[in-house]
Amino acid sequence: MNRRIKEKIKYTAGIIYCALVYVFLFLPIVVIVVNSFNATTSKPYLSWKGFTFAWYGKLFENTVLLASFGHTVLLAVVSTLLSTAIGTLAAVGMYKYHFKGKGLIDGLLYIPVVIPEIVLGISLLTVFAKASVPRGMITLVLAHVTFSIPFVIFNIRARLSGYDNSIEEASMDLGANRVYTFFHITLPVLAPGIGGGALLAFTLSIDDVIISYFTNGQVKTFPLKVMESIKSGVAPDVNALSTLILVGTSLLVILTQSGIFSKHKK
């Protein structure tokens, strides 16, 4: 066979293969989005009864569902802020200073990354129970920060590997004290790493099911609410909310990413 035709066939096969993988990845999302416009009103809300926006309207009457979404957002924002703050300080501190027990901290950091989420979830549950910490938003935040911190730190570390220590010295040399230097030099230079870490923390928090499942008490996040209603069939207003979340996060990420990239180019 002609070599060019052979290459062409190979290339086309590659395109088809990638397309199939993307179909696999996006199929359930398409199902959710389409079903959010499904006019069916009978459980389990599966057969197609025509197109409607009604579920988007109903969504705003379903206060329980909206409250669960509120919890999810609040949880994600608070735990992202906390884990980013702690993680940034830690990443910079561990890069700059040498001290005893650094290896231990490093080892502990890998645990939430590799250990199955269920183990982290139940271990937190048992300790909260033992310490009589009432489970609710606070325990959820504690748990989410715990599994987010390592990802924030690793992200910033990747950025620190190309970091020139002498810019901090230069800043102090020019009359800036340590705090001013941290906020005007260290932080802005590490901003892309910190932003990436925060984004990852936010994504992980929004996506988490298992750890929230064990640490939530009576506070239901959106995924937990869905989990509860799965047996009876998930109403299309959940699909509507999922669709809105998808559109929202996509916009958010595209905006922040493009912001980060433009800063990077300078």
């Binding site: 990845l25 996006f26 890998y110 590799v114 199955p116 996509s250």
Partner: protein, 289 residues
């Protein structure tokens, strides 16, 4: 020349920066895990209260035949999932990193975007698609391929499908990184030296991207053992993974010491795999997605 900085009063800034994370990790990672291990030696009194008796009963119960069967099934699911992720993910990662290079940024983002919808909801999407009155059955009956709706759900196969679905990005992303780093001249050199396509792949490309396969496998295999909700939604309670066993002890079963002992199995498997990963020369930093 020494580069180490030695400013006066290093202790305070170091403490302010590293103190919080140390405290956090000790209290919310180290202490809970130690407590879980401690709990495995406890038993329950008549009122379901935890009492420390230093018993090995919880460990003995792990050898219950029903449990052993679930471990085997769970490991089988994890192995199959990992294998499918490698076989399906490798060519995909290779294609987006090295063949469709002009669009690789977008193609890479498209792998991440599904993450922004909660995994539970996406798994539910699969159930909607595959269910007895779901899209697939509707389509097939309308096309008269099948006369009655078939049951695609609630078997080991659908659990594996769900696991692959949830975890394949964790395989694709490290593979992408490894493939992208490949030096093109190496591949050319190998071909130049007379190696045919398959030989080049086996002798050059595969060994050089092995790190990606290793870290991807760790990131797929271990969570697979614990993803109880995938088995719940797509397995309908018929096929369980170890995660389901643990979840039951902490919820309906209310036997925390046994649940803790079951968790120790997962901890042990994790430690073992990470150790093997390190022996194979894997870098822990690569596990951070």
């Amino acid at each position: 020349m020494k580069k180490k900085k030695n400013f006066r009063g290093n202790t305070l800034p170091a403490l302010v920066m590293v103190g919080p994370v140390t405290l956090w990790l000790l209290l919310l990672v180290a202490v809970p895990l130690i407590y879980v291990v401690f709990m495995t030696f406890c038993s329950l009194d008549a009122n379901y209260n935890l009492v420390f008796t230093f018993t090995l009963d919880n460990y003995k119960r792990l050898f219950d035949a029903n449990y052993v069967q679930i471990y085997a099934q769970s490991l089988l699911i994890a192995f199959s999932t990992t294998l499918i992720c490698i076989i399906a993910g490798y060519p995909f990662a290779f294609l987006i990193a090295r063949v469709f290079t002009k669009k690789k940024a977008i193609l890479y983002m498209l792998v991440i975007i599904p993450f922004w919808t909660n995994s539970l909801i996406r798994i539910y999407g699969w159930r909607t698609f595959l269910g007895s009155s779901g899209w697939l059955n509707n389509m097939l009956t309308k096309l008269h391929i099948i006369s009655e709706p078939a049951e695609f759900l609630f078997n080991r196969g659908t659990i594996i499908l769900g696991m692959v679905y949830c975890l394949i990005p964790y395989m694709i992303l490290p593979l992408y990184t490894a493939v992208e780093k490949l030096d093109k001249s190496m591949i050319e050199a190998s071909k130049d030296l007379g190696a045919k396509g398959p030989a080049t792949f086996l002798k050059v490309i595969l060994p050089m991207t092995a790190s990606g396969i290793f870290s991807g496998s760790i990131m797929v295999f271990i969570p697979c053992l614990g993803y109880f909700f995938v088995a719940d939604i797509l397995g309908g309670g018929k096929s369980d993974v170890i995660g389901n066993l643990i979840e039951r002890q902490f919820q309906s079963g209310n036997n925390w010491p046994l649940g803790a002992a079951l968790s120790v199995i997962l901890i042990a498997i994790t430690l073992l795999l990470v150790k093997i990963y390190q022996i194979c020369g894997g870098d822990m930093e690569n596990l951070g997605v």
